[in-house]
Amino acid sequence: MTSYLDKKDIHLSKNFFKKGYFIQKVSDLKSLKTLRKAVVNSLCETIKVKMKKEKDFDRFLNDIHNTIKIKNLNNTRLNILNSINSSSEFHQKYFEVAKNLLFSLVGNELAMQTRVNLSIQLPGDASSLLPVHSDIWSGDSPFEVVVWIPLVNCYSTKTMYILKPENYKKIHSKFKKYAGKNSSDFYKNIKKNVEWINIKFGEILIFNQSLPHGNIVNSEKETRWSLNCRFKSLYSPYGDKKIGEFFKPITIRAASRIGMNYSLPNLKK
């Protein structure tokens, strides 16, 4: 097999294959801070409190369960989502933060999800859980990856879990036994093999969304805040989530532009 990937790319790829994810320290900290500031800003507007100073963002987000009630959580989340997604700068910064990893693992002509998602998991809140799933089972393409950005440190039950590729492989071949069962049964079976992602603010996670993943009730004393967004190679197969409605092209290169606009000269009179 010919492969001219450089050492760095090979290292990343190997890790990605083996673990199903990769965590990296963000080099563009300025962009990351812009993302967090935009979220905090919109949060303050939504819950009508004065904008915080940057040094207080971490405490403010972690302790938000003292201010927001579970019944108001979804409304708050939707308000913040609408605000961050109306800004193309927010999307660009999101890409910038993950750019090197994406270029290494996915490609350099990319499609990005048109809406960035936000998860807020208050301690003890069972209403915003994501039961174990693979995104492919609900219509995503296996050519997509998820870039997951924590806005606070995430650990133990305050984070997400993912099933390692080697364990998924074993389950894949015996999937028939889950016929007629539900996702809780499935989780019970994989529970001992899942890996809990330990990640700090200042790092980003890129993961293989075809591997089963999810979260459980956050039983820590702090609230989890994380953003997620899917990326894929622009010309790779799409699932139910199509270009235009779910993905937008973000890095079309010159040769592709020329190709897409080319037509052979016409000899017919």
Partner: protein, 118 residues
């Protein structure tokens, strides 16, 4: 471009889009069923009424022919009207919007030639 959703569902999506974006929904029009027919669309664009915009169900209901499509955009902008696309949540009102929209068309039009299997 090969997309088909029942008309009444399309109407519901369009109405919802208007509601969310605070657009006044005044008239519903459906294109004639003949292939490549844009007779109704032309009629609406050229109408000198108070109507200041058209909401499409999807941007892939525009003509597949690029030149024809570009004429439509030009016409719309010249008449200071706007077009919206519900599924894609997209508003076209400037030349920059045209470029963005055409990128999506360009990619979509080469996808049938790209690898599809998994």
């Amino acid at each position: 471009m090969g997309e088909r959703v029942p008309q009444h569902i399309q109407n519901q999506i369009i109405r919802k889009f208007c509601e969310t974006n605070r657009l006044e929904y005044s008239l519903s029009a459906s294109e004639y069923a003949m292939k490549n027919s844009y007779l109704m669309l032309e009629e609406i664009i050229n109408e000198k009424s108070s109507m200041n915009g058209i909401v499409f169900y999807s941007l892939f209901q525009l003509p597949e022919n690029k030149i024809y499509r570009n004429n439509i955009y030009k016409n719309i902008i010249k008449r200071k009207k706007k077009i919206f696309f519900s599924v894609e949540n997209f508003k076209l009102s400037s030349k920059n919007d045209i470029l963005e929209l055409e990128e999506i068309w360009d990619v979509k039009s080469v996808l049938p030639s790209c690898y599809k299997g998994y």
